[in-house]
């Protein structure tokens, strides 16, 4: 650490001296109706077009320019653009509140030219979604869902139909870092993956990094999904909610102290079990099946320089059969953050983050009873600093100390049970990191975003740690005492992005980044079960490493109304994990003996055209890609397509504001089927027809396609309250998309075998939700 700090310090002092004749304008950009800070709002100087910045996660901006009279232009999608005259003869504090267009209740086509940030910013491989878009995209059963909307973007693929699991640029679903107010969400799905844990009422901003990861993020190979919760209205109390077919939700927000502090509480509960009551099967009738979420947040601004934020999430799925078995699983997170503005150029955020994922499975029958529990708990200290050295350099640096506790499995039983009590040793470790990055505007055309992240993984005792040979037999075992170091790994992760502006409307960008991952999900089931098991890098498991290069061409048309981009990427993956045949992962002390290691590669082309403004907006995304993995003992050691390999992936999203009150939307997706393993022959063993296989993932499920439509009817505007109806039809053409294909002895023709295709949503599924706000 010391080695790193010293050069940084010199750098700071150097720039400080150089920057004397400039002045800085800094402050916060907010929504004028709710006081919510706006993330990623653009702040630029009209007279100096190359001088611009965007607000950070707390709405803070800092812009340094030579002494002079300027016009500050503040813009944010969905908001009115505002111009402010400033006299930059000294450092200025300028907090600006801007109005949302939706508040005007009419369709506005902005008179100001939309900005070209997407072309000019060095960051590539990033997708930002704003909530109004998410709210208008039709989804299954009317549940707005950020994860499902994200899977409509190029380079992102839904794991399977109806599932919120997603693959980014060929990465597995556990290679996505999913953050909710900085807390890791380990299992972002409800109900076997059909819904995500993110209640869109409580969400303010969503960013997905697919490549060129900024140095402040680390710990996962493929992507970072950074989700920020609403802070709460600090001007008025409001209540809003919705009644839907399968769930209802309510949100309450308001000021704690007007303009100084606010709170937000949002809750959602599903009631699918009500439908099960209609089942003719008395066992299904007596079953439980629901989930709920609770998001809460509060903030208080002591003054212009100091603010504290508290946020928390709690969600649980509960499923069970009366007197037979029960299972529940869920995440809980908590974040305390303290913002401090040292001066108009140095912004600091200190966070203390807690995150937990746990599940329990219980069997109630007296001769088979047991209760098995498993959990992972993180405590994370983060310090992030942002220093606007000059208009040419913005430095970000910080450190991160993350402690993991993993309790892989604990089984308790009664004396009459068939099962024994069993407890698998807990595992402890630190994942620490320090990073520094600089956003450097070399000249009006060339910008670099470069940095480095040093990550250290420390696996600690107490416990017995074994090493295994290739066949999974124990070679040696060693006991470690509390806090004794078992294994340490250090990785230097360079991050580099560059952008070159060809003209006002087009640019080329390139990036290279290395990411490492020290926490790995073990789950060899293809169906989504809650029994996710996490392991840290250890004496057996090496950190997973990904190196990605990408380059792209970005072009805007018609005064930045249309955005087009084409990106290509190539990714090398090392130390990938798979399971040996017949692997036993649940409550296995020697779970690491069940693993096998290999490598992978992923490459592809992503095309994206988006219309952000106007009555009609939406996007078309297309990805052509390939993802392959290689394991010595699978497929004769040759590369084979990974499960997440998808050659073609197309999504079309259209949103149309028909009248003041009616908003229509539609999405269409088409994708190559998943790579699957089909039998190539058969034989008889043990009296059973058994299939023989010659190539792993050598076949494809047929392609999937689906069209969903939605409509929103805004109620008449009342003084006190406002209501709306959301209608949707999922799979409007009732495509039979294959979910799985299985093979069996024929039920109709004796002595033959047959292939059977199962589709889960073979019909159109309508939905309706009533929303209110007062």
């Amino acid at each position: 650490m010391k080695k790193l700090l010293l050069p940084i310090l010199f750098l700071l002092i150097g720039f400080e001296a150089f920057a004397q004749k400039n002045f800085t304008v800094s402050g916060t950009i907010k929504d004028n109706a709710t006081g919510e800070q706006l993330i990623g709002a653009s702040v630029r100087i009209k007279e100096l077009p190359q001088m611009g910045t965007a607000t950070n996660s707390y709405g803070f901006y800092s812009l340094t320019a030579p002494k002079g009279e300027y016009t500050l232009v503040i813009s944010y999608i969905g908001y009115e653009t505002i111009e402010k005259s400033i006299s930059l003869t000294k450092n200025l504090d300028l907090t600006v509140a801007i109005g949302s267009k939706s508040e005007l209740k009419e369709v506005v086509i902005s008179s100001n030219k939309p900005n070209n940030d997407n072309v000019a910013a060095p960051q590539m491989g990033v997708e930002k979604l704003n909530m109004s878009q998410i709210n208008n995209v039709p989804v299954l059963l009317g549940e707005k869902d950020i994860l499902k909307t994200i899977s409509l973007l190029p380079g992102v693929k839904a794991a399977s139909e109806g599932n919120t699991g997603f693959y980014v640029r060929g990465g597995a679903s556990d290679q996505n870092l999913i953050l909710l107010d900085e807390a890791t969400v380990y299992n972002a799905s409800h109900l076997f993956g059909f819904f995500s844990t993110f209640n869109s009422d409580a969400i303010k901003d969503v960013s997905l990094y697919k490549g060129g990861m900024p140095a402040e993020y680390g710990g996962r190979l493929s992507s970072v999904l950074d989700v920020k919760m609403n802070d709460g209205n600090n001007k008025d109390y409001t209540v809003q909610g919705g009644l839907g077919l399968i769930s209802s939700r309510i949100k309450v927000e308001g000021p704690i102290v007007e303009d100084k502090g606010s709170f937000m509480i949002s809750a959602r509960r599903t009631y699918i079990d009500l439908f099960l009551k209609a089942s003719s099967d008395s066992t299904v009738k007596g079953s439980t099946l629901y989930f709920y979420d609770l998001n809460a947040k509060a903030n208080y601004h002591f003054d212009d320089k100091n603010a504290v934020y508290l946020s928390g999430y709690f969600g649980k799925d509960v499923l069970g059969l009366k007197n037979t078995f029960g299972t529940n699983w869920g995440n809980s997170t908590g974040t305390i953050r303290f913002n401090h503005i040292f001066n108009n150029r140095l912004f600091s955020n200190t966070s203390l983050v807690y995150s937990n994922y746990n599940y329990a499975i219980e069997d109630f029958e007296s001769d088979n009873n047991f209760k098995a529990t498993s959990q992972i708990t993180d405590v994370n200290f983060k310090e992030d600093l942002q220093y606007s050295i000059s208009n040419d350099h913005t430095l970000k640096f910080g450190l991160n100390i993350l402690h993991h506790t993993i309790a892989p499995g604990n089984i308790t039983t009664s004396a009459t049970s068939s099962f024994n009590d069993k407890s698998i040793e807990e595992r402890y470790g630190y994942e620490n990191a320090a990073y520094v990055s600089d956003d450097w505007r070399v000249n009006s055309k060339l910008t670099f975003l470069y940095g480095v992240r040093l990550s250290g993984m420390f696996l600690l005792g107490p416990g017995t740690f074994s090493t295994y040979d290739e066949a999974g037999n124990t070679i040696s075992s060693k006991s470690y005492t509390s806090d004794q170091l078992v294994k340490a790994y250090f990785n230097l992760e360079p991050r580099f992005s560059a952008s070159y502006l060809l003209n006002e409307e087009s640019s080329i960008k390139a990036s290279y980044n290395r990411n490492t991952q020290n926490i790995h999900l073990l789950s060899n089931s293809t169906s989504s079960t809650p029994t996710d098991l996490y392991v840290m890098s250890s004496n057996n498991i090496k950190p997973e490493i990904a190196d990605q290069v990408s380059t792209g061409y970005f072009r805007n048309f018609s005064d930045n109304i249309f955005e087009f981009s084409a990106e290509v990427y190539y990714k090398w993956l090392q130390n990938q994990i798979d399971y040996k045949d017949g692997a036993q992962l649940i409550a296995n002390q020697d779970v690491e003996s069940q693993l096998t290691y290999g490598s992978g590669r992923a490459y592809g082309l992503e095309l994206f055209i988006k219309k952000k403004y106007g009555r009609f907006n939406g996007w078309i995304g297309y990805t052509l890609s390939r993802t392959e993995v290689k394991f010595a003992d699978i497929n004769d050691g040759n590369y084979y397509p990974a499960r997440q390999d998808r050659t073609h992936d197309l999504s079309v999203v259209g949103i149309y504001q028909l009248t003041k009150r009616w908003n229509l939307s539609a999405t269409y997706i088409y994708g190559t089927g998943n790579a699957v393993t089909y039998p190539t022959g058969k034989y008889e063993i043990g009296g059973l027809t058994t299939f023989s296989y010659s190539q792993r993932d050598g076949y494809r499920l047929p392609p999937t396609q689906r069209m969903d439509i939605g409509a929103t009817l805004e109620g008449k505007q009342h003084k006190k309250y406002h209501s709306s109806w959301t209608f949707g039809v999922y799979n409007v053409f009732a495509y039979r998309n294959p979910y799985i294909i299985t093979f069996r002895d024929s039920k109709t023709v004796p002595n033959t075998t047959e292939a059977v295709e199962t589709s889960i949503f073979a019909t159109a599924i309508p939905s309706v939700t009533w929303n209110f706000k007062f």
Partner: protein, 265 residues
């Protein structure tokens, strides 16, 4: 295991309520002519059988060509050699041989110029206490039964079991392989959950219990996990790891066997 199987059945019944299935035609590869060896030695006095056949393409009928003219023998770790003779074609047997608990048997098969060998040890005998039936958990309106096996697992040693179930003399197309990883030394009650043949009161159910060694357990467990309705929820399928070298399809298992038959109440 049982709970996870129930969980998967439950998902099937609820979430996939909107699902539907159909039989489809697929173009599949043509993998055929590979040697399949299935060898079993039990503690009961013979005949003991080793069957040699070949696999056929998926689209063929379930008729598997016999492999004739092989030289097949078994030796034990006491120095005895047991030659197997072919009759009928592809079936190699020895009339009066009984495996001995604790002995390790080595199978040698010479065919097509290649010598295949495999080793397996007969584990300790664990007594099948009883087989019972009770109302099935799902589909309650159909008044179905499910079968439970009961036995005392010996404490302190690793045991592996395989069960084969027959309903009215028809073998159930499900694999049941268990070990005592979670139940060492306990009195075990294991539900043989299957959805191949509905069991009704009055049916005759026969259950064979085998005590198998670790490699053979891995073989059956791998096959069981690949069953789409199995505890693995249908993991990526592959040929299960055989104990035969050089690798062929099939296995050689030395195990104990016993059966019980009940009339379902």
């Amino acid at each position: 295991m049982r709970t996870i199987k129930l969980y998967i059945s439950f998902i099937g019944l609820t979430i996939f309520a909107t699902s539907c299935t159909k039989v489809i035609d697929l173009k599949l590869g043509n993998d055929s002519g590979k040697l399949v060896i299935e060898g079993n030695i039990t503690q009961l006095t013979g005949p003991q059988y080793i069957k040699l056949s070949q696999n056929v393409p998926f689209t063929n009928t379930n008729v598997y060509p016999a492999v004739s003219g092989a030289t097949v023998s078994v030796t034990d770790n006491q120095g005895n050699t047991y030659p197997f003779v072919e009759s009928p074609s592809g079936t190699y047997s020895i009339a009066a041989m009984a495996g001995v608990i604790g002995n390790t048997y080595t199978m040698t098969v010479v065919t097509g110029g290649t010598t295949y060998t495999a080793k397996s040890t007969i584990p300790d005998f664990v007594n099948l206490d009883s087989v019972t039936s009770r109302p099935a958990i799902f589909n309650t309106s159909k008044n179905l039964r499910q079968i439970t096996v009961h036995f005392q697992d010996p404490a302190g040693i690793a045991n592996q079991y395989r069960f084969v179930m027959y309903v009215n003399s028809v073998q159930v197309k499900s694999i049941f392989a268990f070990n005592d990883q979670f139940s060492d030394g306990r009195y075990s009650n294991i539900d043989l959950i299957e959805n191949d043949i509905d069991v009704h009161p009055g049916d005759t159910v026969k259950v064979e219990m085998q005590c198998i060694d670790q490699p053979i357990y891995t073989y059956w467990f791998t096959l069981m996990q690949q069953d789409p309705n199995g505890p693995g929820g249908g993991v990526t399928p592959s040929n299960p790891p055989t104990n035969i070298t050089p690798a062929s399809l099939g296995y050689f298992s030395a195990h104990t066997t016993q059966t019980q038959t009940i009339i379902v109440k």
